[in-house]
Amino acid sequence: MTSTPPIVQVRDLQKSYGSVEAVRGVSFSIAAGETFALLGPNGAGKSTTIEILEGYRDRTGGEVTVLGVDPRRGGLDWKARLGIVLQASGESGNVTVTEQLRHFAGFYPNPRDVDEVIDATGLREKAKTRISKLSGGQRRRVDVALGIIGRPELLFLDEPTTGFDPEARHQFWDLIRSLKTEGTTILLTTHYLDEAAQLGDRAGIIADGRLIDIGSIHEIGGADARIPLVRWRDGNGMVREERTSHPARVVAELVARLNGAEPEDLEVIRPSLEDVYLSLVRGNEAAAARTETAASAGRGVLTEQVVRA
């Protein structure tokens, strides 16, 4: 973007739990105002990475700065500039939505207006309801509301829309877009690849503790992974597919061959971020299986357990 220093800078980040390497040399940076999506399977090291950046966990190696500060030494002033939406938790919640937001707003030097945040997160009807009485999706909205109440410069969203219905997810996307417009830098992890595609400017894909690809949302995976697919059913009822960077020409030739008749079940498919992601992760798994023995599968499971613990 500009010459301003990156909001997040991660160089060769490593994290081991005993002999298990959860994160093995991850590097990336996030520019001011950017939304960066960190994607990857469960247990790949996403949450460990994000929790190191948030200051919750120590790292084993590498360099990290967040808002110009090493998270190990981040004080209260530093925390006041962050907004953290953790993965869903099970707090008892014997306070109302408004009480909780008002209380948390008091922690910050320059909080947002409580009513404004309640409206922006769609909690107006539940404002006077105790959090313990809310549905999972509504509680998640409260988590998001608490994450943005302090007017953060950098917002961490760890699987923010788990439990949202489709409408709530679209409303959430609108909210995040308005935060982006305001200049908030966002680090997002999600299992919904359409969400990453909607919100992210760039994405990094982590598998088995390593960053296997990083790039803009529209380019990640490389040009080859994004070649469109033309699919149709031929005269014998067989499904035919052709991968081509000139789908219109293929379709035109097909129609010409059929003397102007309409090809049956014709589709032109542009690989979505999800398709690209799946091919990258599967490719990585296949490569890992080739180079490592069966023992590595056991270690993969262990990694997940330790990270979740």
Partner: protein, 284 residues
């Protein structure tokens, strides 16, 4: 979620630790009275025990009277100081140990740890909550004693001065010991199973439920290691006639030792709290 959030940014100073601590006290106290478990097992428990003891033993006459049954004090009056001491212990140790262990395992502390709330403000909130609720509990106990059980309360200012320092000292000590003990349970679910037996055994050996002076010497000596015995003794010195002092271990109320024991436990609790408290369980 209508997506309009305006950005107005007048620069302001971060709120102070003390101001946030006061705000936490209000918040924590509200939460305390919204938790039915806490209300029953911490706030009203001494009332329930006092009612049971009074109902069960009143027929057997006064305690500490002469052979002809004249003199001494009623069963309710005898148990009142013990129940006040139990209330201090429950409000501090049991309440905070269970509460903080639960907050640790349900994610409350992790969330707070990601905000600019100082741990000091958090502790001010907890200790303030213990104070507010313990004062309410003690006041209510004294009102019940006076007006329901018709127990004569002391009128001498010196007695009430003793009450004040034993109470304040005991409650602060209990609060720190509760924070320290909250580090022991491995999960919020196991917290009550870890904490309640400790607190219950202490109450039995320290002269809350059983007449301390009737306990065997070894049990009295064991109880003397722990702070509850001293809180109860301090409270007995306030509410029982001076003639009862003769039945104590050394034949007197030993208020100096009460202060010394509570002082030592206060320091122990403070150090343990300081050493063990974490927003989240640290990974290896």
């Amino acid at each position: 979620m209508s997506a309009t959030i305006t950005d107005t940014r007048p620069p302001k100073k971060a709120p102070g630790t003390l101001a946030l601590g006061l705000s936490r006290i209000g918040y924590e106290t509200r939460l305390y009275f919204r938790s039915p478990d806490t209300l029953f097992f911490t706030f009203f428990f001494p009332f329930i025990m006092l009612a049971i003891f009074t109902a069960a033993f009143s027929a057997s006459g006064n305690i500490g009277g002469n052979a002809d049954g004249v003199g001494g004090v009623s069963v309710g009056a005898y148990y009142l100081p013990g129940m006040l001491a139990a209330g201090m212990l429950l409000s501090g140790v049991q309440n905070l140990a269970v509460d903080i262990a639960g907050e640790k395992s349900d994610g409350t502390l992790k969330r707070l740890g990601g905000t600019p709330l100082s741990p000091l403000s958090y502790f001010l909130g907890k200790i303030g909550q213990v104070f507010v609720t313990a004062i309410l509990q003690a006041t209510l106990l004294l009102l019940v004693a006076r007006f329901v059980l018709d127990i004569a309360l002391p009128t001498e200012p010196e007695k009430w001065a003793t009450f004040a320092w034993v109470f304040v000292f005991g409650v602060i000590t209990s609060a720190f010991l509760g924070i320290a003990l909250s580090a022991v349970p491995r999960s919020g679910k196991s917290a009550t199973a870890v904490v309640i037996p400790v607190v219950l055994v202490l109450q039995f050996i320290s002269g809350v439920y059983l007449q301390f002076t009737a306990l065997p010497d070894w049990m009295q000596n064991l109880a003397s290691i722990f702070p509850l015995k001293w809180m109860a003794q301090g409270m007995r010195s306030v509410f029982l006639p001076d003639s009862f002092a003769a039945a104590e271990q050394t034949g007197s109320w030993d208020l100096v030792w009460v202060a010394a024991a509570l002082g030592v436990w206060l320091v122990v609790g403070l150090l343990l709290s300081r050493m063990t408290f974490r927003w989240i369980r640290r990974d290896a």
